[in-house]
Symmetry: C2
Subunit: 208 residues, 2 copies
């Protein structure tokens, strides 16, 4: 039996449009050569699972120094044409102002793809990505994830666009503001920013 | 690299004292022969991870037909003296009125141990068990887990004793009742049970 790691790494497109994106690589080797996939690869005998995930991410995409969290292990027989391979999936979020990815080792190309318009993915990576998206949405609901994805000071409209991007649907402005007010993860600042007709109050995430 | 599954299965002691227990087996084969461990074993080439977890649980302890949930994968080099072994841990809860476990295959004995008074455990199973306990406590906080552990109708005192058993500490009665009232996972019934001086109202879990 062989063990791999795969990484589901989300970001926002750095154009202010709040498009949720995921990091993919174009495979340069069989199986699925030329098909897009999550970055990842085999665990080396002497490294921990998380070390393997960080190494594969760095080697295949140039992305380094991110917060990683173990997501779930996928091990159905038949999920990999090379034989029995169990993969331990990791989840990561990176800031929209990160450097663009750079392909390396087994990856022919590395780029962010909008979650709403993905190419066909190798192996069972579509299911792994879907599981990662579920984790992101759950975290959003309970902890107001997003400090990795927004600037230190933001307006409630920016926060709402982030939530809409992650949930994949529009939210009612008044309901969203009520939802935020009932939680304590954002703190109002004594500052505002001119946006359109009137100034919008700025907020920060608590503890940041 | 080899892949195993291990199962962290919790229950309450069926004596009404709300003692949280975990299912352990005494290993009948090296390594760690004669030491207590979580039930588990190697994944067969043709079975899924969850199928392997159910099979090992049934073979080693006679416990069958439980709700299993994947917990976390542990894969540090050196965690197993046999070489590199990655284990996928599963989490389960069973009702206190289940049949007693029966040892089989690689297990010399199988029994429930109080979480507060565990023997020394093989491999990194103490860390896996601790992780499982963390999951149980998180679920308790968010979803009021426990319907597997209480009878269909219960008093708030019974619910409080369950929470105290899982959290491993005493709770203030008034704070606990306020906490329950602020959530919607229990429903008051138009029934009560005589306990001591005055009748205590009965509750059920919502949706059960």
């Amino acid at each position: 039996m062989r063990v791999t790691v795969d990484i589901v790494l989300f970001t926002l497109r750095p154009d202010g449009a709040a498009t949720l994106e995921v990091l993919l690589v174009e495979r340069g080797v069989p199986p699925y050569e030329g098909t897009w996939a999550l970055p990842g690869g085999f665990v080396h005998p002497d490294e921990s699972l998380e070390t393997a995930a960080r190494r594969e991410l760095r080697e295949e995409t140039g992305v380094d120094d991110v917060y990683l969290e173990q997501l779930y292990s996928f091990g159905d027989p038949g999920r990999d044409p090379r034989g029995r391979v169990v993969t331990v999936a990791y989840y990561a979020l990176v800031s929209p102002d990160r450097r663009p990815p750079e392909a390396g080792t087994d990856a022919r190309a590395a780029r962010f793809w909008p979650v709403a318009a993905l190419p066909k993915l190798a192996f069972d990576h579509a299911a792994i990505l879907e599981y990662g998206l579920g984790r992101l949405r759950t975290k959003l609901e309970w902890t107001g994830v997003g400090f990795e994805l927004l600037p230190p000071k933001f307006t409630l409209s920016e926060l709402q666009r982030l939530h809409e991007a992650i949930l994949g649907r529009d939210l009612d402005k008044r309901n969203f503001r009520r939802w935020v007010a009932a939680r304590d993860f954002v703190v109002p600042l004594k500052e505002s920013r001119r946006t359109g007709r009137k100034p919008a109050q700025l907020f920060r995430f608590r503890g940041r």
